[in-house]
């Protein structure tokens, strides 16, 4: 029987090719997505990781170097980690060594004064030389480590990016003003963050303190290494009493640090991981679909052959076994090849995404055992199952019936159960989505996602039901446009609704996801656009990448040449009208030149009279109108009574409450400012921008952005997520195309007699080709259109839940992009029909008519 199976595999090369290709692409797509997802995840983790090997206990001062205002908020005492602390710890029994660190977020400027890399992952630290002047952590490749406070060593990647040479002057900045240092060395590092491309500047300890705003004897952390025989926990207990400031500082073991880091990474990578897992799940689904479909279709072709085997005396179990062995062979070899293809796809995807965004962390191609196992298991299992079930069904047909009937016994299994189940699932899913859309913010996420998943499953089940009316709708215009072939194509497309549905499903699923994300992206972009262009009249916004601006910067910006109006925007969280709410303080005299809230009552100039502005949702919550008085509690003062001078539409650029700057200064003198709004005499010009940069001391962390820069900044994140998805879309289109090829090839085979008839009574080859192509396009566009419609609905639902953080959001349909997607579906249909159409056109008229 094994030999029969093997012969079977080899004897039907066309069929073999089709099924192996299906398994190959199905698993390849899936594997590629998983590998891509793992690699991106790994890269993201690497870039945020610290290496804790060799650290038994760490004492860390997380507030070291923060501006005094922030420090005042978070700590009561002014204790510091100093040289004395280090000495006392080093003297403990069981301590093999200590390393006192000064490290923190610091930006490194390139030759043009622009920051290198991402501020959140750019670090400045102290170089700790041993007696020979080397630091074992950072082996020097060129030059030497920094000896004085005006010298620096940089990691190789950063030096290459910036094109620095030894002896060049490098500007480095953290919260304070930028300092200039001389490059004395280039080093390499095994730290995962540095290896994945994040900048690291090493200064001597005094230099590091200067950049990171630490006191002259202060350290940010002390790493303690235990002597052999001393446990981390024992050392922790010994070290803890020696640390000043009570429990102001973190004292943790290396194991705890590593565990916390893992936890943190899992947290921060969650949204990306969710997205990538969703993508992998969808690809798995599509892959399974493709394989199952191919086999279901091909079994029709072999029913007769199986019947012949049965007729000449093969037992039912023998026939079944031969089918299973054949499927096992195809499944194993197909998924093994798919694994290889998937590795290629995953690597290509990762490289493609990296080329779109050069600042992304580098990473190798990550192939986990899970990926390999899932690929082989799913590929083989799905192949065997999808081959076996139809074959078993075929075996149940009496051999004589299968042999004698000219026509394939059509399976007219009722769609009733499927429709009922599908309707229920869809209704449940849609219900959850609608329910979710009434929620706001994070609580909406779960019902929304669960609902979306459920509804997609339901819709896929309902596709056969939907195909009839939708495609019937397309028949009259098609018949008018393309004549008889068009009309016949529409009729053919709904002949086997099950098959049409499973062919279209890949497109439906893929386009649901992509459309939803595209529409959300467009809506968010649009909202931000409107907020930026309509509500902001300032020419430039000055911000610092480290978060809080030094008050001195606001003063120097205000005095920069060409400044007409400027105002720091202070962020406070006060209790206003009994509600703890965010509020922004603006310079009362210049605010009306810098922002233009969409006023529904009163005027923005009310700030000049010491009155406040509230947004309409805050106003309606508290029954406020122009002239109302509210009671305010601030850190320095309670029972403050302020008058509402105006009501404006909620906005992302602003806060629910806008306060005159003077009021903020009076009641919270250390309120941090994150931005300074500036208006210039001649608007946004490069010269003015340079003047502002000069005024801020040309620090790489201070950004001077115009409206376009702001929009681009927001768009970048959205675009990146969308690009990931488009890469997946291309894959699902490819798989969908193969599914369409399958369906059509099968249809052409089954319908060769009517194709012959059509040719005999006068349809030319072109007409036959046109008919097959149109059917293909119909199926593809049907699948795509359903997916897009549902995607738009999901985007609307998700959009309404996002109005908390983005009040301007309204659903915007990016028609050009949507049209492009539809066009892609048409192209997939045309491309997939190419081969089946040619086959159909080349059919010999006589052979086809007389075929049975």
């Amino acid at each position: 029987m094994f030999r029969t199976a093997l012969r079977n595999v080899l004897a039907h090369r066309g069929r073999l090719l089709m099924t192996t290709l299906a398994v190959l692409l199905g698993t390849g797509f899936m594997t590629g997505t998983m590998i891509f997802s793992d690699s991106i995840h790994q890269a993201a983790n690497n870039s945020r990781s610290k290496d804790f090997t060799g650290i038994s206990v760490q004492v860390a001062d997380d507030t070291a170097g923060l501006p005094s205002s922030a420090r005042q908020n978070s700590t009561k005492s002014s204790a510091r980690l100093t040289e004395a602390t280090v000495r006392r710890i080093a003297a403990l029994p069981g301590v093999a060594g200590t390393r006192a660190e000064v490290s923190g977020t610091a930006a490194i400027a390139d030759k043009n004064g622009n920051m290198i890399g991402d501020i959140m992952r750019s670090t400045g630290a102290n170089f700790v030389p041993d007696a020979a002047g080397n630091d074992a952590r950072y082996p020097m490749l060129q030059g030497r480590g920094p000896h004085t406070a005006t010298e620096v060593a940089l990691d190789r990647g950063t030096v290459e990016k910036a094109g620095y040479r030894l002896g060049d002057t490098v500007r480095i900045a953290a919260n304070g003003p930028a300092i200039s240092v001389t490059l004395t060395g280039v080093f390499s590092s095994d730290a995962p963050a540095v290896r994945s491309g994040n900048p690291l500047a090493l200064l001597d300890t005094q230099g590091a303190r200067r950049v990171l705003s630490l006191a002259p004897d202060q350290y940010s952390s002390i790493d303690v290494t235990a002597a052999p025989g001393t446990s981390e926990t024992a050392l922790l207990h010994a070290v803890t009493p020696l640390v000043p400031g009570g429990n102001q500082f973190r004292v943790e073991t290396g194991a705890q640090l590593a565990a916390q880091q893992a936890e943190r990474l899992a947290q921060s990578g969650r949204s990306l991981a969710t997205m990538l897992t969703t993508a992998a799940g969808i690809s798995l689904f599509i892959g399974i679909f493709l394989i199952a479909n191919t086999f279901t279709m091909l079994v029709a072709q072999r029913t007769r052959q199986l019947a012949l085997l049965r007729a000449i005396g093969a037992g039912r179990s023998q026939v079944t076994r031969s089918v299973l062995i054949e499927a096992l062979l195809v499944g194993l070899s197909g998924s093994a090849a798919g694994l290889l293809l998937g590795i290629g796809i995953g690597a290509a995807l990762a490289a493609g995404v990296k080329s779109l965004d050069a600042d992304l962390p580098r990473a190798g191609v990550v192939i986990t055992p899970t990926t390999v196992l899932i690929t082989l298991l799913v590929g083989t299992l799905v192949t065997v199952l999808s081959a076996a079930l139809p074959a078993l069904r075929a075996c149940r047909i009496p051999p004589v019936a299968a042999l004698s009937s000219g026509e394939q016994p059509a399976t007219h299994r009722s769609l009733f159960l499927r429709n009922v189940l599908g309707s229920l699932t869809t209704a449940g899913g849609l219900g959850l989505v609608v329910l979710g859309s009434t929620e706001r913010g994070a609580t909406a996420r779960l019902p929304l996602m669960a609902g979306a998943l459920l509804a997609v499953l339901g819709i896929v089940q309902l596709l056969p039901l939907l195909s009839r009316p939708v495609i019937a709708l397309a028949r009259p215009p098609l018949a008018r446009l393309c004549g008889t072939p068009g009309s016949l194509a529409a009729l053919n497309a709904i002949r086997n609704p099950r098959r049409t549905a499973s062919t279209a499903a890949a497109l439906t699923i893929g386009l649901t996801l992509v459309t939803a994300m595209t529409v959300i992206g467009a809506s968010v972009s649009d909202a931000i656009d409107r907020a930026v262009t309509q509500e902001m009249t300032a020419d430039y916004v000055v911000t610092t990448l480290t978060g809080t601006l030094d008050p001195s910067i606001a003063t120097s910006v205000a005095h920069a040449p060409g400044v007409v109006a400027s105002s720091p925007v202070t962020d406070v969280e006060w209790s206003i009208a009994g509600e703890r709410t965010e509020a922004k303080g603006l310079d009362a005299d210049s605010a009306d030149q810098l922002v233009r809230p969409n006023m529904s009552q009163g005027a923005a100039t009310a700030l000049k009279r010491g009155q406040i502005l509230v947004d309409s949702s805050f106003a309606s919550r508290h029954g406020l109108a122009v002239g109302s008085t509210v009671t305010v509690a601030a850190p320095h003062g309670t029972g403050i009574r302020l008058t509402v001078g105006g009501v404006f539409a909620p906005s992302r650029m602003l806060a629910p409450v806008l306060l005159p700057g003077g009021v903020v200064a009076a009641h919270q003198p250390y309120a941090p400012a994150q931005q300074i709004l500036v208006k210039g005499a001649n608007g946004a010009t490069p010269a003015f921008k340079q003047a502002l940069k000069d005024a801020t001391g040309r620090s790489p962390v201070v950004e001077v952005e115009n409206k376009q820069n702001l929009r681009d900044g927001f768009d970048r994140t959205i675009t990146f997520a969308l690009n990931l998805l488009y890469a997946l879309l291309v894959m699902s289109l490819l798989v969908a195309a193969l599914g369409v090829v399958n369906t059509l090839a099968m249809a052409v085979f089954e319908r060769r007699r009517e194709l012959g008839l059509l040719r005999a009574i006068g349809l030319d080859r072109g007409g036959v080709k046109r008919m097959v192509r149109l059917e293909s396009v119909l199926i593809s566009v049907f699948g795509a259109a359903i997916g897009m419609a549902f995607g738009v609905f999901l985007a609307w639902a998700a959009g309404t839940t996002m109005t908390v953080t983005l009040p301007e959001l309204r659903t915007v349909l990016p028609y050009p992009k949507l049209l492009l997607m539809l066009l892609a579906a048409v192209l997939v249909g045309l491309a997939a029909a190419q081969w089946p159409a040619r086959r159909a056109a080349r059919l010999d008229v006589l052979d086809s008519i007389t075929a049975d």
Binding site: T484, R495, E754, L763, R765, G767, I849
Partner: protein, 253 residues
């Protein structure tokens, strides 16, 4: 356009074959399916082609109807020479000037009876002649079944729809390949009567391939084929006389 001009000015036979040869295969597997066949089917005649299986009767029909290529010789429909035509021209010729009735699978399963009847005209993009269509539908007696799909019609009804389709385009000639082969005798008789009335009432020319003497007896003339040659001819046949000739052919063969 050219073809139309020719048919209106000449009164040739509906279909004619001259020295037709058809060879299948090469070398040892070479089979001579048609061996110098010359035959003429005049307008307004109901002719039958008979012969034992393998005699080449279907091949002759296929070659004369532009469904199969010939090795040598000439085949004309009206005054139009088929030999040497490109596929596209042949397709157009079949669509515009020939009606077909096959043994089985005559109809598109997705189309209604009426849509099947007008299919060749629809493919050509012609506006249907309503009056003529009404006469044809009336003649085949399926006025109440026009909205049905082939699956909802009996075998005999399906063949009558096929007859209507062949008639609807007012072709030069109708070729019927074993039109009653899959029918019971009652349904078969109905279809044969219908073909007869095509000739008598509508002046059509019909050529029918059959191996059934009873069917052949409905024709005005029977042409006998054996081993790819025309061996005999019988005018105003009866079932008995046809059977008699067939027996003699078998004995010779």
């Amino acid at each position: 356009m050219v073809m139309d001009a020719m048919t209106t000015t000449t009164y040739a036979a509906a279909a004619r074959a001259r020295g037709l040869h058809k060879v299948y295969g090469e070398g040892e597997t070479r089979v001579l399916a048609l061996d110098d066949v010359s035959v003429e089917f005049p307008r307004g005649e109901f002719a039958a082609i008979m012969g034992p299986s393998g005699s080449g009767k279907s091949t002759l029909m296929h070659c004369m109807a532009g469904l199969d290529s010939v090795t040598s010789g000439s085949a004309t429909i009206g005054d139009v020479e088929l030999v040497g035509m490109k596929d596209k021209q042949l397709t157009r010729l079949r669509r515009d000037r020939i009606g077909f009735i096959f043994q089985a699978f005559n109809l598109m399963p997705t189309l209604t009876a009426m849509e099947n009847i007008t299919l060749p005209g629809d493919i050509a993009g012609r506006k249907p002649d309503r009056d003529w269509l009404a006469r044809v539908v009336d003649a085949v007696g399926l006025a109440d079944r026009l909205k049905h799909r082939p699956g909802q019609l009996s075998g005999g009804q399906q063949q009558r729809v096929a007859c209507a389709r062949a008639l609807a385009g007012k072709p030069e000639i109708i070729f019927a390949d074993e039109p009653t082969g899959n029918l019971d005798s009652h349904a078969g008789a109905e279809v044969l009567a219908l073909l007869g009335s095509c000739v008598r009432d509508f002046g059509q020319s019909v050529v029918m391939v059959t191996h059934d003497p009873v069917a052949a007896a409905h024709a005005d003339r029977v042409v006998f084929l054996a081993d790819g040659r025309i061996v005999d001819e019988l005018r105003t046949p009866t079932a008995d006389s046809v059977l008699d000739r067939m027996r003699r052919l078998d004995r010779v063969g």
